[in-house]
Symmetry: C2
Subunit: 459 residues, 2 copies
């Protein structure tokens, strides 16, 4: 057992030089995104007002299996990557399990999560096209921080529409984004038509992610040489995040391991889609058959209780429609839901893989998640993000099953980030004021009722 | 240039198995600590009520050159160490300097700093002696977090006296410490005689580090099987922190480098004393002659403007007296001073080395420090702690000198931690409300006036 070190870091030479595009190995591709005006599959050109050309291409490219990572992005990756693959010796010991538990830890960078992997790519391509500024929205703030870091590095202007409630409750997140030179605007704001409309109707609102997206998109399409960028759900994001899985597979190979179970938390799917890449590739190609488990909050259960249907990607219904597991674009998790993983839908790629039986999904309640997070912190000395802790919960549950059956399974999970900015939630867990909420079937029906009707496709 | 990777991680086999005790190579030892009752040099036995036996031994051991790191501590280190030695390629490029800049980054752990290196050692030895609980004080909270992590891991009870002002202004720091299971008490409190006295005299006080130390020490000596632990200044702390320097030296050897200049921030000296170990060893033994620079805040200038004298280690004057550079144990930095590095004295070992000319010291003003911090963050993607940024400032200044002279010097500095919990200070820098303060000579004279009179030793 002592032959495997606690942490495996790849050398720069061992680091992947290419991203992996899962779609190239899928026998059945996700249904195409639809242009909400024409109801026809979107073309790259349809996306140009919103995304820069290379990213529009990556979004729709179902064919290219491996995409070269530009050297400038590789150099940026080398500042904070490789991330370590960690053997959880102390967690295993505490659980008294024969299972071997590994986790890929993406939290050792200032953004605090894996989000930086895609942020740097999106900024690089925009800069290369000669664009001068970007817009985005941020809720919890990890994506906004990651993007601000990348924009500071490449010299791009950035405007972040931050959900007003977060802006007020998380002033430190705002300050970090500002420290990297970005302009942070509480949303809804007076800087856009969409924002002014919402403010006029509801002056006291604390905003929503959907509203912030609408403002950011409007700002991008009405500003010269500006584009909008997004940190999850999109195919391009899964492509960039594949660095997580490719590094994991190389590191496991170095120690002669292969996971029996791969576990990732799932909100929009950026981390999960990146982590599972090489293992799903083996599965699609019949080379291996690991279990792949998506873990989502019981309060926002898009995979386990959602519909597989065409839906808008945003609450404002201005984006293309994607075929995905969704709770309806009007769905909002209960106010007691802590942390991220609150998106109404799931990456179309992951939705299709789940629909076709390549992936399992479980949902967990948040008090169980924080119980796992606290236990993990005390044994492995890392304070995990609430999102990541969904994967910890499932990994612990699988390891306990191994204790019961005596099986020495190899478990790999993704630890996407750290919880420094989530202490309000940890506090409520500690003080036992945290509650669980599982939407009723009637709650979910309300969300499904808002799914779009598309003649001939979705009646 | 591209042959040297951005980051060097030692393998577990390459990691140091021993700490290094600087005193063993000093021709002239620091003057002994004095027992404030007897005015005689303290003995190990004198220290037993406060420190566990092994730590009391380490505190006074001037002879043992290398101390084996117990296997349990090595195993703990392997969870978050080795820390990377990073080549600051992007910072060099931005400064257009021929200098080669390296930094040893100690912030990639949940405590957010190097403090964990000594916390785990102190908890381990206390546990091994059969003690059941520990007390400490914390101001900014990094030490309290580190100690809580170590206590959670080894199953020790911990009470942290947190300066009331910090307790109220940094609720998230408190929550992290509580998440690891420690008991956090705002100081002054009703739990000690010292606290009750201060509260009676000044009910509205927001507390001070000196008062929190007094409460923690009182609690330790009046509780069965309990001891007090401290995160800086002490000789034992420098011993444990030597892991920083030893790792740095091994990593530099692997890439065939040796620093011309070693730079560390200096408050009580825990980081600086650890970082410089192997380089100071070479200097003391005539094998090399690197410049070694301590960087301190202009608002708390113990080395550059303090007296080399015997003084108490705490404001309450209950600890032994140490010969060190000091501003007087009553000295308090101006209220506009942000972050740590606010201790009135300096490690007796470092004080002696500085006094004997083995080390330089510079002081820097805080707006210049935050300017360097922000510049560094944008280029190297890490948000540094204000404390660490003192070293960044000096490293940048040396690199700029190299640009001017054309010299390709090799600079190594210690990046002790991250700044996630210091956004209030970053904010005031961004909003240009941050000011500088340099104490006047008259201010300093007030502190010196309180230095103890010791018949025959210090009149």
């Amino acid at each position: 057992m002592k032959n495997i070190p606690h942490k495996i870091y790849l050398t720069e030479e061992q680091m992947p030089k290419q991203w992996y595009n899962l779609r190239a190995d899928m026998k059945n591709l996700p249904d195409p995104m639809l242009n909400p005006q024409t109801l026809k599959p979107v073309t790259e050109e349809d996306l140009y007002p919103v995304f820069c050309k290379e990213l529009a291409h990556q979004e729709l490219d179902n064919i290219t299996r491996f995409v070269d990572i530009p050297e400038e992005i590789q150099d940026f990756y080398k500042m904070y990557r490789p991330s370590p693959l960690i053997r959880a010796y102390q967690l295993e010991k505490a659980l008294d399990t024969p299972a071997k538990i590994y986790y890929k830890f993406e939290g050792n960078n200032t953004s605090g999560s894996h989000k930086l992997n895609s942020a740097v790519a999106q900024v690089y391509y925009a800069k290369k096209q000669g664009l001068t500024s970007l817009t985005t929205e941020t809720g919890a703030g990890q994506w906004g921080t990651a993007l601000a870091e990348a924009c500071a590095f490449f010299g791009m202007d950035l405007t972040v529409y931050m959900v007003k409630g977060s802006y007020e409750q998380k002033p430190f997140r705002k300050s970090i984004i500002q420290t990297f030179g970005a302009n942070v605007i509480p949303s809804p704001s007076n800087t856009t038509k969409a924002g002014r409309k919402i403010l006029a109707e509801n002056p006291g609102t604390s905003g929503s992610l959907g509203c912030a997206i609408s403002e950011a998109v409007e700002k991008a399409v009405t500003t010269p040489d500006c584009r909008y960028v997004l940190g999850s759900v999109l195919n391009q994001v899964l492509l960039h995040q594949s660095i997580i899985g490719e590094e994991s597979a190389i590191a496991m190979q170095l120690i002669d391991e292969y996971p029996d179970i791969v576990i990732g938390c799932a909100g929009g799917g950026s981390n999960l889609g990146g982590l599972i890449g090489p293992f799903m590739r083996d599965k699609l190609n019949g080379k291996a058959n690991p279990r792949i488990i998506a873990v989502e909050p019981a309060s926002c259960p898009s995979l386990t209780r959602g519909r597989y249907a065409y839906d808008y990607c945003d609450t404002g219904k201005i984006t293309p429609m994607a075929k995905m597991y969704t709770l309806g674009c009007g769905f909002m998790p209960s106010p007691n839901h802590a942390g991220g993983l609150r998106y109404h839908g799931m990456s179309p790629i992951l939705s299709k893989l789940y629909h076709d039986g390549y992936m399992e999904a479980v949902s967990v309640e948040q008090t169980k998640v924080f119980e796992a997070a606290t236990f993990f912190a005390k044994k492995e000395t890392i304070l995990p993000a609430p999102e990541s802790s969904h994967a910890i919960r499932a990994a612990i549950d699988e390891a306990i099953k191994c204790r019961e059956t005596g099986e020495a399974k190899t478990i790999l999970f993704g630890l996407t980030g750290t919880g420094y900015f989530d202490m309000t939630a940890y506090n409520s867990y500690l003080e036992k004021t945290m509650s669980d909420y599982i939407p009723t079937d009637a709650d979910l029906e309300k969300g499904f009722a808002g799914l779009p009707h598309i003649p001939g496709i979705q009646e």
